[in-house]
Amino acid sequence: MVKTILFLSLLFSSNILAKEASEKLQKNCMHCHIKQKIPSELIYRRYLKKYSTHSAIKKTLLSYLKNPSRKTSIMPKQFFLKFPEKEALDLNETDLSESIDAYLNYFDIRKKLVLP
């Protein structure tokens, strides 16, 4: 009984945390991305194609988002003809990290793949 309660409370708290992170992602990132029609999934796929693991993507994104520039971006030059160059986010380290995690989790390729 105690175990069940503990498990349910853990599940509940993790859901809350995930919801909070998702809200942060919406507020800090997706809001603008949607507004400016920036293809978030395409960016995710491009990072995935280059770095393979979420941990490597996160490390690179974290570094980029702190100091974004065309030179450090992995997106092609043509991308910046269509979309504006990103400005540095006014977020603390924790919020930035949580937002990246939520971003990676949201577009996680494993959630999309299915067997025929």
Binding site: K50, S52, T53, K112
Partner: protein
């Protein structure tokens, strides 16, 4: 075929067949392994081809932004994609343990192939493919190898038999020539020896001759020739000889044979000691018993030194003849039964005596023991 020929034929076949078959087993084993590797390589190639197809599909999927992405799965191939940290992403199977250090490997009757992917479409750095080993061609290969081996065994056995006969032919011819020579010679010996012995007996009976000593020498020499003739005839006829096994009074026979050698014993001034128990009977062909006793006595006298000792012991279980002659070297004792083998060439003879004794002893399942010290003594014991 004579025993020697059979033995030589058998030895040749044994050496020829064992070496040939060993070679064939080795060749078949190498052939089997080589072909098996070839079959596995072909199946690995199929894995490689499938990997290329999946890689292409992954590349296409990486630009597909639908809500679901259908992973390429084409049975009997199973595959899974792993990221750069070798963490499982997705797949149609999940390997228990991936051997990352190998490109191709086998595990639990399955073939595995690890294909590197770059760029990392969908984050996939490695594509692991698996397929059950198709055993049908391997079973076919086993069958073919076995058929090949059996055919080779049959063919080479027949060839061995043919070659064996071919190789043994000169030896057979030599033996036959020698046998014919012995047969002719012995036949020619018989009449003059019989004439000499008969006439010596007549001279001894009818005339009181002065040259008795010389006459005894002639008699001894003639008897030696006569025994040689009988031994050679025995060996020649031995294969077709019909034995008449009956209870023979060995005590009486032994005494009569000693009597027959008396002149030779006296000529060599031997000290004869007899320990013969009465009424010893043995189930044996009389001619065999005579040949055996005569040969033992002949050797014991011939190779004895002058004024030496000759001890004959007969009891219920054995016969032993002891002489103080030249003896036999330790290394020669094992070979002394062999025909034409002579431990000492100081005396005349063909070296067939102990071969005859050996044949008789073997035929009646007696045991034959030679105890000898070189230049001192020899004791031959026959136990029944």
């Amino acid at each position: 075929m004579l025993t020697n020929e059979k033995r030589s034929h058998f030895r040749f076949l044994a050496i020829y067949l064992s070496s040939t078959l060993l070679l064939f087993f080795l060749a078949t084993f190498i052939f089997y392994n080589f072909q098996r590797h070839h079959i596995i390589d072909l199946q690995n190639t199929a894995l490689t081809e499938e990997a290329a197809k999946i890689s292409q599909s992954l590349r296409e999927l990486s630009t597909n932004f639908s809500s679901t992405l259908v992973y390429p799965h084409n049975p009997p191939f199973y595959s899974a994609i792993y990221n750069l940290d070798k963490e499982y992403i997705f797949g149609s199977f999940q390997a228990k343990k991936v051997l990352w250090e190998k490109e191709y490997y086998q595990q639990d009757e399955k073939l595995f192939y690890i294909h590197d992917i770059y760029p990392y479409y969908l984050g996939a750095s490695y594509l692991v493919l698996s397929k059950e080993i198709n055993k049908k061609p391997i079973h076919e290969l086993v069958k073919t190898s076995l058929v090949f081996l059996i055919l080779a065994i049959v063919l080479f056995t027949l060839l061995g038999l043919f070659l064996g006969k071919l190789f043994i032919a000169p030896m057979k011819e030599s033996i036959e020539t020698m046998n014919r020579f012995i047969e002719d010679t012995t036949h020619e010996f018989n009449t003059p020896i019989s004439t000499i012995l008969t006439n010596i007996e007549l001279i001894e009976t009818l005339y009181d001759c002065e040259g008795k000593k010389e006459l005894t020498r002639i008699e001894n020499a003639s008897k030696t020739l006569s025994r040689l003739y009988e031994d050679l005839s025995y060996l020649k006829l031995n294969h077709n000889y019909q034995r008449d096994v009956q209870s023979v009074d060995i005590t009486s026979l032994l005494k009569s044979r000693i009597e027959n050698f008396k002149t030779l014993i006296e000529a060599k001034e031997l000290d004869l000691t007899l320990k013969i128990e009465p009424n010893i009977f043995l189930d044996i062909d009389k001619n065999d018993a005579i040949r055996m006793l005569d040969n033992l006595f002949s050797n014991a006298i011939k190779y004895n030194r002058k004024k030496g000792q000759l001890r004959v012991t007969l009891n219920n279980t054995k016969l032993s003849i002891y002489d103080t002659g030249v003896g036999i070297r330790k290394e020669d004792i094992k070979l002394i039964h062999t025909r034409f083998k002579r431990a000492n060439n100081s005396e005349g003879g063909f070296g067939i005596g102990l071969d005859i004794v050996g044949q008789i002893v073997t035929h009646y399942n007696f045991s034959f023991d030679i105890d000898s010290t070189y230049n001192q003594h020899t004791k031959v014991t026959i136990t029944w």
